[in-house]
Symmetry: C2
Subunit: 355 residues, 2 copies
């Protein structure tokens, strides 16, 4: 990261709320830290970013975010090591992807230095908010939305970029049972599935609720045309272990290019695990489950890191996965979090020191 | 519509802004009227609606609308006739469709009486804002979005329903040239294309901008799998006239069930026009254009009513449509707007008197 080249206007809180927070019992994403970063786009340019006390946002009722869904976001974490140093994990990847998402949603791309300097400065200010209990972190949410007004269905002329922070415990607890979805879809060919855009998430909630009513916790999305290939696991990328080979679907215009996904691939290969990036048929999972070669399935994403799957439902049948000693899921989660929390060497150069 | 069974709390403006507005030169959807309706969903129920002065909305930065795209809307118009009476057009259809959209986006459905009584009461209060210049109307925008907070990717626990009004001139002026899109898509099979959800619109802006850069004004969406069939025209339904037959694509989970679309179908049939509701191949358009049987194409939607198309681009070639005397587009637009503005009988029972 460059040195701080952005002039950020900083207004600190008069009194921190940090003493009111129970750090031993943090939910995910519900407690906000003292400050936030905000940057406005108007008159064709991103303006000077500001760090201010966390506060409400006032918008006109005709702001386009309320009508036409122009919003993109990122998910990141800050980790505190045993010496109190604070680290980010591959922040460049989030910075680049935010702009990839923005472009697809017709949101003006944000200059790299506003994202990077804003992020670094905000996390430095909020360093005491980074929790230290195992598995916890400061969840960081950069997001951009259309604040410009007008009921005409066209891109807005004003936008707002924010970064907010939430000290958080682990995202999921325990293994999840998943339902392979054959009716509803997450993304179209030529659509916005690869973008971290708000609309992609809203469309997932209803099918997920239906799966929950059937006794599952999450949905495995398949392609919208044939429903023969698995694509994502809820809001995470999907990995499958057959015998000792790790499989994951290739990214496409329907599949998010996950930072955790690509880190898992690199770590697995460094550990000597064979990784195949290819389309995976549902039928392959079913027959591998039947002949005992299906060993593991898990989701990978920033919030949950690795979310192990205990079994899947498909066409009215349930397929249980075995309990694995020395699972890839635990190995890979330990390897990736050890890098994140500065408990291990970082041969990939992924760790980024904040303060 | 029932009599007003909803207790609506009404707070009127101290001084109307109406004298500041140039009603002879209204843009589309940029001028707001004095009041708006707002209704909150919390504690598992929709609360008492309020009509208040039009004002800003203040939300927490973690409100789910900013992150997960939970938003749906409707588009409607109020029309003033020569005697000063104010009318709506098939408001029941918008009321039903809002809930169809909401269900798909995991937004709690709004009780019918809140929508209908709220709409009627608000338009009654804003009756002086309904413009009278030809082609103009009071554009009405009901919308719902997630105001509940939290960074977890799950449905919100609080929502807001609004109705805002904008005295507006015509949406489009003149014929448009369209590009038949073969790379980008609007909707997935099993997706949210049939819902009037914000995310559907955000995803259309970028491909539309690319088409504009190529010299077109609008995109014709095709199916995301084969791109062989036309589905929608920008944010409107699509109609094609081949010889004297009017064709339109069937609604599906990818295509919006447009109120103007179904009204056009009924009026056309009442006029003795043969209407075929079936999938229409791009190749059929191309060969019909070549042999002279392609007479007209137009979009149909609430905002523009009928938006005639002057020609289409496909795979690098441009196909011009003929200038038609006695076009279906003008006939159908006149018939539908004559009903809307109470200039003709209403054999279908579509007109609804507000005041």
């Amino acid at each position: 990261m460059e040195t701080n080249v952005t002039n950020i206007i900083i207004e600190k809180v008069k009194k921190s709320r940090i003493s009111e927070v129970d750090f031993s019992n943090l939910p995910f994403g519900k407690v906000h830290s003292d400050h936030m970063l905000v940057c406005d786009y108007r008159d064709g340019a991103w303006q000077t970013p500001r760090i201010t006390p966390y506060q409400g946002i006032t918008l006109d009722p005709s702001a386009k975010i309320f009508h036409y869904g122009q919003s993109v976001f990122e998910g990141m974490k800050a980790y505190k090591d045993e010496n109190g140093k604070v680290w980010l994990f591959r922040p460049d990847e989030n910075q680049k992807r935010l702009n990839i998402s923005s472009k697809r949603i017709s949101i003006p791309e944000l200059p790299r230095e506003i994202f990077m300097d804003g992020l670094k400065t905000l996390v430095q200010i909020e360093k005491d908010w980074v929790p230290t209990t195992p598995g916890s972190s400061l969840y960081i949410r950069p997001f951009v939305f259309a604040s410009g007004t007008g009921l005409h269905a066209s891109p807005a002329d004003q936008y707002k970029f924010f970064i907010v922070c939430a000290p958080s415990g682990p995202y999921f607890a325990g293994k999840v049972r998943v339902l392979i979805e054959e009716k509803y879809s997450r993304a179209a060919n030529g659509g916005v599935g690869y973008a971290k855009a708000g609309g992609n998430y809203a469309g997932q909630f209803y099918p997920t609720q239906l799966a929950i009513q059937k006794g599952y916790q999450q949905v495995i999305w398949t392609d919208d045309n044939t429903h023969e290939y698995i694509e994502e696991a809820g809001a995470m990328n999907i990995f499958v272990r057959i015998n000792d080979t790790l499989l994951t679907s290739p990214v496409s215009d329907r599949i998010l290019d996950g930072v955790t996904r690509k880190s898992v691939i690199d770590i697995a290969r460094a550990e000597g695990i064979t990784v195949e990036i290819r389309k995976v048929r549902v039928e392959e999972l079913v027959s591998a489950s039947k002949n005992g070669s299906l060993k593991e399935m898990f989701g990978a994403g920033t919030a949950a890191v690795i979310s192990p799957i205990s079994g899947f439902g498909y066409r009215g049948s349930d397929y249980d996965l075995p309990e694995m000693k020395d699972s890839y899921a635990s190995l890979l989660k330990k390897k990736i979090t050890d890098i994140q929390y500065n408990k291990a060497d970082d041969p990939f150069g992924w760790r980024f020191e904040v303060i």
